[in-house]
Symmetry: C2
Subunit: 408 residues, 2 copies
Amino acid sequence: MKPLGPIPAGFSAIDGELAIGGHKASALVAEAGDTPLFVYSRAMIHARMAQLRAAMPERIKIHYAMKANPFGDLLEHMAELVDGLDIASGGEFAQAREAGFLPREISFAGPGKRDEELHLAIRAGVTINLESANEARRALEAAQALGVAPRLAIRVNPDFELRGSGMKMGGGAKPFGVDQAQVATLAKDIIAAGAEWRGLHIYTGSQALDADAIIEVQGNVLDLAAQLSVEVGSALPHLNMGGGFGIPYFDKDRPLDIVSIGSALDERFGNLPDVLQATDFAIELGRYLVGEAGVYLTRIVDRKVSHGATYLVTDGGLHHQLAASGNFGTVVRRNYPVAIATRFDAPAEEEVNITGCLCTPLDRLADQPLLPRADVGDIVAIFCAGAYGASASPSAFLGQGPALEMLV
Amino acid sequence: MKPLGPIPAGFSAIDGELAIGGHKASALVAEAGDTPLFVYSRAMIHARMAQLRAAMPERIKIHYAMKANPFGDLLEHMAELVDGLDIASGGEFAQAREAGFLPREISFAGPGKRDEELHLAIRAGVTINLESANEARRALEAAQALGVAPRLAIRVNPDFELRGSGMKMGGGAKPFGVDQAQVATLAKDIIAAGAEWRGLHIYTGSQALDADAIIEVQGNVLDLAAQLSVEVGSALPHLNMGGGFGIPYFDKDRPLDIVSIGSALDERFGNLPDVLQATDFAIELGRYLVGEAGVYLTRIVDRKVSHGATYLVTDGGLHHQLAASGNFGTVVRRNYPVAIATRFDAPAEEEVNITGCLCTPLDRLADQPLLPRADVGDIVAIFCAGAYGASASPSAFLGQGPALEMLV
């Protein structure tokens, strides 16, 4: 028997079935027309935003990192809830515009921006988080050709990192951002070239569950931002402090204590140095806002026993849930939170293996959990599917195609 | 410095540039219109098939496992070269028909076939490789509803496996196929139910480079097929012996010795038991046929130095080359064969890191290889990109979209 990750708070049963946003899983599948299906809960995203607003200082803006989930209906919903949007490509810019975000609310980070993406974004008035001196030169050239003052910020590669984060994005040599020692010179150069100086972007890591680590790194980010602004010789207009807020995926993971983070930040905001007195502060969250609000529903198409082990084979798989299968950024595979949606409150009574429909041993959705007895036709729920699911998986693999998606 | 995998034989330089199918990389990019671009060489696939035909006994049929690469033009080319096609979904069936394969040439394996996929395939006359007793029942029901005799084979989960294979598909409890001890009973049942008995499918693993291991497992497959046929009590019409033929991806990998495999198989074919005398034999290859014939071309959009390390940031990445980034089925990341296509015969002189354009530290294409000096605008080639590249990567990630593909 192997443990499952913890099912996020906020899910309940109706008539014995998992309910999402007040609708039974089977009813949602019927409405969508088929499985596999991603369901995202508007109410859960709303509740998460409310908790966050309550915990964080009023002064801090909350940006959505749309790479976590760019589904159109969800993005439209986010446009009503957040203060800004972080994009990572021209493709995301187009999706963001369609969802109703204004260019002035958008900032664009990413180490490999193409010239045409820079042109498009600068023309629209998007803030560019510059990743290198070379990119700064290309952005200024694009702006000159367009006859506009580009809105430019610098993404900093800090000398420190976010302890315990799932993905470290700072500390030492990195393809992201400008090494902190080079930032002030570059900032002065782009200000002198006539750019609208939009400040700094300091992203140190993602998926951390330790509040103390986030408090420490946010302190370091504020110190570095102040130091760099003194070097630049001007007050800092804007500081994107990055994200890093994680969600529990695996057994023994505990939810992040955002109240501690908020109160530490509040204290820091009470003691800001001069160069940061008038700064607009933002944090940039993706997974934390939408990850737990999503559920992937997939139907059991076969139940079989091989050498004494029971397999529930579903019509879904790693082509929609690459991370849950253990094949994306993880060394040791562990189980996400998983349940039999159609027998949500039944007692766990048998050890099974849940696999996808792909012809590869990589396609595992749950290894040896103890679950209620399930049969062909039952629906399996994979939780924590709201971020880095549908868009971060190889949906064309083995001719399967994308899953359905709906916001309820 | 870290080593690169070996560049497959057959590539040369024209005017100092990598040439594919007699065309310079830059000319191919110009023709396609952009990077990133997958280029597949018709001539190299043709040559690979010719080597294989020469090495293998005439009696053995060669099937293409289209999951390796379903690109339309390539699939049409394969239709002219191979004796059969293995599909894994209804989506692949549609692509196969469009490419000109006839249903009678097609067999369909996969542990999670839906009822509608079974209906579609059985109506067309495709051979179904049954993965379980439950699936057999569903296939027979579908055939009855359609009023046809279904063409049914059984996929066997053998008690042995392919030693040293990248992916083990046999030995012990597995979601694939029917445990060998249950095969004879199921075969007799489906024959009694009026199905056209199409024999056995025994797939034991993939990506093996050790000829002795493949020779051993093919011997075991023939022995098991004979034993099961005796148990069934009838001569075996068809045996899909699986694949497993690997290609070198990494430093120190050596090409598979197919001549040894062919001569061992020839010897076995000279001593077949009665139940296999009239059997049609096939091997099922994907990666081995097309993997080395593909190159992924991506342009350098930034060159930067961080803490003394040089980064070449490209417009491609793991959204097209998940396996090359080290994030698909590998525990330790190693470098694929990589070159600067536009400086193909220049001396290697600097250690660099080649990354994709995605905003994640997972997006690495080559760690610390020694390569010719390259700048923004140069084209990077990732070799061994003909299989499990475009279709096995999350192309929608970060709004990037799919790469271009062309067959030359």
